[in-house]
Structure formats: C-alpha cells, structure tokens
C-alpha cells in the first residue's frame, strides 16, 4: 500500500464518517422536500471541518489543490450517501468552468469564495431540449456598451442544478463569435429562477429566464464551446464516481438483504436466481469503479487518453448504476417498491444521472467520436 493509497483511504473514511452523521437517510428525505434542498449548516461544516468545497481548487485561489483522484473518492462517498448539497454544481461544474476558461481575473474573483464554502455556484448550459450540444444554444449575449466585459444576456436555460439557490451563475450564451461563458450575479435584475419538478428530488434543478440581464464575459469571446467540452469531461468523470458509489451501495443493500430475508425456509440469497442477480450487480459495480477511477487517474496524469477514458467512465457507470438500482428493488421484492424504502431514491438518482448529460445515444456517439470512429 503506497502512502498515497493510505491517504486516500483516510480521506474516504473521514468523508464517510461525516456523511453517516450528517446525511443519514432521514436527513436526505427531509431535505429533498425542502427549499433550499440542502442544509446550510451541514454545508458550512463540510467546508470548515473537511474543507471539501476547496478540495480541488488550486492553492492560489484558496483551495487545497488536490486532483481528480481525491475528488473521485469524495464523490463516491457523496453518491453512496445521496448527499443533498451544492457540491456537484459548485465544485464540479461551476468552478471547473471557471478554471477551464483560463480567465485568471474571474478565477481570482470567484474561486476563493467557492473554496471557503461561502459562495455556491451553478453552471447553466442546457436549454429546453436538455442538450449540452453548443450548436443548440439559443440564449444570446450582446455587448452592453457600458464598458469592457459588460454584456446583456437574454434567453432561457433549464436543468440548471441548484439554479434557484446558487449565488453565482455561469451561463453559456451565444455571441456573434459563438458560444461564450458569462458570469451572472444571483441578484442581477431581469433574472428569474423557478424550480423544476425533478425525477430525482435529491438534486434540485431550475429553469432560468434572462431578460437583458447584466453579465460579465468569462474567458474569451467565442470560447464557450471549448470550455464546455472540457467541463463536460471533468463533470462526467465526477458524476461517474458518484454513480459508482451509489451502485456499490445498492449492491451492498441487496447482498445484506439476500443474506437475511427468508422465504421457503431458506435465505433468498441461497436461490440461484437471486445469487446470480447479485453477482451480475457485482460485475457491473467492479467495472464501474475501475472505469471511473482509471479515468480520474488519467485526468490526474494529464494522459492523452483521458477523453476516451472519460467517455468510457460515463457510459459504464451510467449503465452500472441504473442496473444496480433496478435489481436492488427486484431483490427486495414488495418492500423495495415502497416509498419508505430507500431503494427508489437510488433508482431516481441513477436514472437521472444517466440522462443528465444527454443519455446513451449521446454518450455512445461521444465515445465513438473520441475513438475517431
């Protein structure tokens, strides 16, 4: 066991311990029906005690400068616990968009607040179709005339994770130069946010309307497509870790139940139909963990195969989680179909994660594209 591995183990166990205390099932259930859909006190503790929001923010911007591997460990644990928190939107989407923009001034302005946990943020890309394809973006931005970097933004965004609560909104809108990234303050005039009904209640999403909202250009005009592509790779790998963690949890629930539930005078796990279901889940979970962790490694090493590994992780973990979540309900029988049982919470998260960035048709083509096929 290398030093790095034992450090990762330590990180995992401290995050797990924290989440077991702060995000037990009752807490998740309470939060998923409240607004905001996270507990600001827990978020503050995650920042103060564990420094989680700053984990992967570079040190120059007030973070701890860890990389994708550490991020993966944390996200696996959050996925297991179904933590309701602005972590994914703020750290995995918005902060990564700022970093990918290469705009040092914008990073210096926003990242320290994010790292300390004081600022939450969201990234608004998709519109009504839910697609992340830059060609389908119709929100527009025009120069304000008022000064350099000042713009006015109009249009609609949807599926914006934590869009009603985030302090800072990063928005991709079209200019004459092409898709570009903008920063919008939550308090800006002309901005409206309404919560969307969601399949997965543990991940809040919003529809945003912009009516000539003052916005600041982040990075260079027309660079939004490139930034999005980069963010999407990082985000899908982060999501993959979350999915792997959730899938592992589903497997554990099933195996535990299969050992202890008796029917026909035998534990149901001694029936081969159930046993093989669990083995199939194990296979998927092992593949998912391998795919997501290898992708994180290759990101950390800056390996040239990272884009391929990211696409593999996204597809593999999406499939594994949906499969594990479905089979988990099946293994549990009737009880698994009740509102009271947590199985549906994982099912909802699994399905919604699979489709968050477009779903199988999209990620299959992304993979083939990256392989030059």
């Amino acid at each position: 066991m290398t030093a790095i591995e034992s450090e990762l183990r330590e990180l995992r166990s401290s995050v797990r311990e924290f989440l077991e205390a702060k995000s037990p099932e009752e807490a998740v259930r309470k939060l998923m029906e409240s607004e905001p859909r996270f507990d600001p006190a827990v978020w503050a503790q995650a920042a103060d005690q564990l420094r989680l929001p700053g984990l992967v923010i570079p040190e120059e911007y007030g973070g701890d400068g860890f990389g994708p591997v550490e991020l993966g460990v944390v996200l696996e644990e959050m996925g297991r616990a179904l933590l309701c928190a602005p972590f994914f939107a703020t750290v995995v989407l918005a902060a990564q968009a700022l970093l990918a923009s290469g705009d040092n001034a914008a990073c210096a302005r926003h990242l320290p607040g994010i790292a300390s946990g004081r600022t939450t943020a969201a990234l608004a890309v998709a519109e009504d179709s839910g697609s992340w394809d830059p060609a389908l973006i119709s929100a527009r931005a025009v120069p304000d005339g008022g000064g350099a970097g000042a713009w006015r933004l109009s249009g609609r965004k949807a599926f914006v994770i934590d869009g009603t609560t985030a302090d800072l909104l990063l928005v991709v809108a079209r200019t004459v130069a092409g898709p570009s990234l903008f920063a919008v303050d939550r308090q800006a005039t002309g901005l409206e946010a309404e919560p969307m009904q969601t399949l997965d209640a543990t991940r809040a999403m919003a529809r945003l309307t912009f009516d000539a909202v003052p916005a600041t250009l982040v990075g260079s005009d027309g660079a939004g497509g490139r930034v999005m592509a980069k963010v999407l790779d990082i985000a899908t790998v982060g999501l993959a870790a979350e999915q792997a963690g959730g899938a592992r949890r589903c497997l554990e629930m099933s195996a535990d139940y299969a050992r202890t539930r008796y029917q026909f005078g035998r534990p149901i796990g001694s029936f081969q139909a159930v046993k093989h279901k669990c083995a199939d889940m194990l296979v998927q979970v092992e593949l998912a963990e391998a795919a997501s962790r290898e992708a994180a490694r290759s990101a950390a090493e800056g390996a040239p195969d990272f884009p391929v590994a990211a696409a593999v992780a996204h597809a593999c973990c999406s499939r594994a989680y949906v499969f594990a979540a479905m089979e988990n309900i099946q293994v549990h029988g009737g009880i698994g179909f009740t509102w009271e049982h947590p199985a549906h919470l994982y099912f909802r998260r699994a399905k919604s994660s699979q489709l968050l960035f477009g779903g199988p048709a999209v990620y299959h083509e992304r993979l083939l594209d990256r392989l030059g096929i």
Partner: protein
C-alpha cells in the same frame, strides 16, 4: 521496486531484440492487408499442428536458457525467483514481438499444472518434471473433467485402487485439452467411494505413455480437435506419483483451479485484441457500408465500453499486485467479462457482416470471423462456466449462503 522493474524491462527487451522481430500491431492495421485469421482454437492439419508444437517448444527452450522460462519459479527448479508482476511485465513486452505461440505448453501445463506440482508433489517428481516442463521438453494436461463430472468436479468416478506400491487407475476423462501432445497428466481419481465426495479424491501425476492410457481426439464445434477423451484402463502409477494426501486430492485440485481462473483471463491475446480493436471494427463497418447504422453504432459503443472497462479492471489488478496486494474479485470478474466481451464482439460483427459470415466470398476479413464466432461458446464454459463463476462471486465475495446440499440417494436410504 519501480527501479528494479525498469532494469528488468530493459533486460527483457535486450533478450527479445536479440531473438525475435517486432510484431506488427494487431490493433492498428490496414484494411485488406496481412493476416485476417480470427481463430481462437487452432484447427490445423496434424503435420502443421506438430510443427506448431515444435516451434512452441523451441521458443520455450530459448526463453528458459535466457532466464525467462519460469519467471516466478524457484531457482532450484530453473526458475528465476521473481514476482508475478515481473511475469506480467514480461508477457506484456513479449506481446510486442513476433514469437511462436506457446499456448499449448503454457496455458495448462505451465500456468496450472506446474504450480500444482510445485505445491504438492514429492521432491523427486518436482526434480523430474518441473525443469523439463519449463524448458519446453514436457507438456502437461489436466485430467479433471469426466462425462459425469464437469462443474460438479468433486463427482469424479475414475477409480484408483491400491496394489502394493502402485495404484491402478480405471476410468474416462473428457474434454482434455492438449492431451495429444502431453507427456504427463494430472488426474483426479476416486480412492474412497464411502467418504463424502470431496474427501474421497486423490490426485496423481500420470505419465501419458504409461500402458493403458489411450488418447482419442474429440472434435469440437469449431471443426478442429484441441481437446480429447482420455481412457485409463488398468493404468499402473507408483505411489510416489501421488500429489498430496491419500483422499486429500481436493486440496490439490483447488490449487489448479485457482490458477486456472487467473490464466484463462489472459489467454488468446492475439485474436482478442483484434476482435476488440476499435480501428478494426470501424474499418469493418466502413467496408460493409454500415457506418451510419445508428443501432449498430450504439452496440459498438457498448461493446467498447465493456472491453475498455475490463482493461481498466485488469490494470487495477496489476497495480495491486505491483503494490504487493493480492487482487480481490478483479480476476474472476475479468474471466467472466472476457468470455462475454468476445461473444458480444463476434455477434456484433456477424450482424455487421450479414450473409458474408455464413459463406466465404473470398473477401479479406469477412468470413474469417466465423472462426471466432464458433469459438465463443467455449469461452463461457471452460475453466468454470459463467454460472459457476457467478456462484463463486456471490458466495465468496458477497458472502451469500450456499445452496442447501441435496440429500444423496444413499443418505435418503439410510
């Protein structure tokens, strides 16, 4: 450790550069050029098959003379005394070179039987056979399966009866790979019919030229005959050819089976790499004008996701080994996925090819896939069927309860 690995890798390259040419990369290729064979099993005519085995032995001897014949083996038997990681590293470097395929010797004999002999045989047997096997002089086979004992290996019925200093073996083995080339076979026999079935088994090393051993080729569905039936009729084996205790053969069998799982997953690198090569598969789609077919593209993507995730899993197992940690379920999962990935690839390609895989148009790289297609069912059976592997994962990794034992007729009667 890392430094030592680099030195070792350099030494391997020096050896290979001196004795072999670099192999063309099977994954990067030009459509229509070179060898298009996708055979997993050989199916060569007998003379060519013998020539193939001779080349395998020659290459094994050269390896051995240069210190790469048995990388993990103890030095007193001609081994190098290094770690499994050195072994894997050697394999991965050797795969870049064009060398004889040594599968006939290595998969079963060196991969499974050798370690079992090392762990359980008496010293004179080790002296007699281990150096010979790793030098390429002796080939070994696994005489486990019988018509009535496959997955349920502990039901072997071949009898061994004590006669003075010898044992007399009678029975029939089946599906025995490479028996036709073997000098020795590791046989599981029943020595105590009254003991519970796992406890009445004894293992013997049987010289394949002993009177009463008859090997009959068994044609397999690919058309060739890699495996055999082996009939044992009054075969006399001295007691010092016994491995392990009398009636303690199950422990011996477990050593072999454990190594089998690890070996099967790493087999057949050539056709496997080709069958799962994105370049080759996409070239095939272009050549057959199925390039735009959305349904096929989605299937191709799924296939590649599985193949690459399986590779990631292997990479992780390798890294664990390198760090001195014994891999967990990775090996069993890989073995399962390996069969499924190839099966899926073969069926994907046959859907792309359509009629061109049912009759040979003479076109490069089309009908050739029929050989892989026909071989894939074996990959879900040999070395423990898919179902048995799932039982093992569920019971040993997830801790699920075993199926209740069924009362035997004897127990019911008493």
């Amino acid at each position: 450790m890392e430094h030592d690995m680099q030195d070792f890798a350099a030494e391997v390259r020096r050896f290979l550069d001196a004795h072999a040419a670099k192999a063309p990369d099977r994954t990067a290729f030009t459509w229509g050029e070179g060898d298009d064979t996708m055979a997993y099993f050989s199916s060569l005519p007998p003379e060519e098959e013998r020539e193939h085995v001779r080349r395998a032995r020659d290459w094994q001897r050269i390896r051995h003379e240069n210190g790469f014949g048995w990388i993990t083996g103890p030095p007193e038997y001609g081994g190098r005394g290094l770690t499994p990681v050195h072994d894997l590293l050697y394999d991965s470097i050797e795969s870049e070179y064009d060398v004889a395929d040594t599968g006939t010797l290595s998969v079963i004999g060196l991969g499974m039987i050798g370690p079992t002999i090392l762990a359980h045989a008496q010293p004179h047997l080790k002296d007699r056979w281990l150096p010979a096997m790793y030098r390429g002089d002796a080939i070994a086979c696994q005489l486990f399966s019988e018509p009535g004992a496959g997955s349920d290996l502990a039901s072997v019925a071949t009898r061994a009866v004590r006669d003075g200093g010898d044992w007399v073996l009678n029975g029939q083995k089946v599906w025995t790979s490479v028996a036709q080339h073997s000098q020795i076979g590791l046989a599981l026999t029943r020595t105590n019919p009254d003991a519970p079935k796992h406890r009445g088994i004894t293992a013997f090393l049987v010289p394949m030229d002993a009177p009463g051993v008859e090997v009959r080729p068994l044609r397999q569905m690919t058309g060739g005959a890699d495996f055999n039936e082996v009939f044992l009729t009054d075969v006399r084996v001295p007691d010092d050819h016994r491995l392990g205790e009398i009636d303690g053969g199950w422990t011996v069998a477990l050593t072999t089976l454990m190594n089998e799982r690890a070996t099967v997953g790493s087999e057949g690198a050539g056709p496997v790499a080709a069958a799962l090569s994105p370049d080759r598969l996409s070239a095939l789609m272009r050549a057959t004008w199925t390039w735009d077919d959305r349904a096929l593209r989605a299937r191709l993507a799924e296939l590649l996701v599985d193949a690459m995730a399986t590779e990631h899993l292997n990479a992780r197992a390798l890294r664990k080994l390198r760090g001195g940690v014994v891999p967990g379920p990775e090996m069993s999962v890989s073995k399962l996925m390996y069969g499924q990935n190839l099966t899926r690839a073969a069926h994907f390609v046959s859907d792309v090819l359509g009629p061109r895989v049912i009759a040979d148009t003479g076109r490069w790289g089309t009908y050739a896939w029929s050989e892989l297609l026909l071989a894939t069912p074996a990959l879900r059976i040999l070395g423990g069927t898919e179902e048995i592997m799932k039982n093992i994962l569920a019971e040993r990794v997830l801790g699920l309860p075993k199926e209740p034992a069924v009362a035997t007729t004897k127990e019911v009667r008493s």
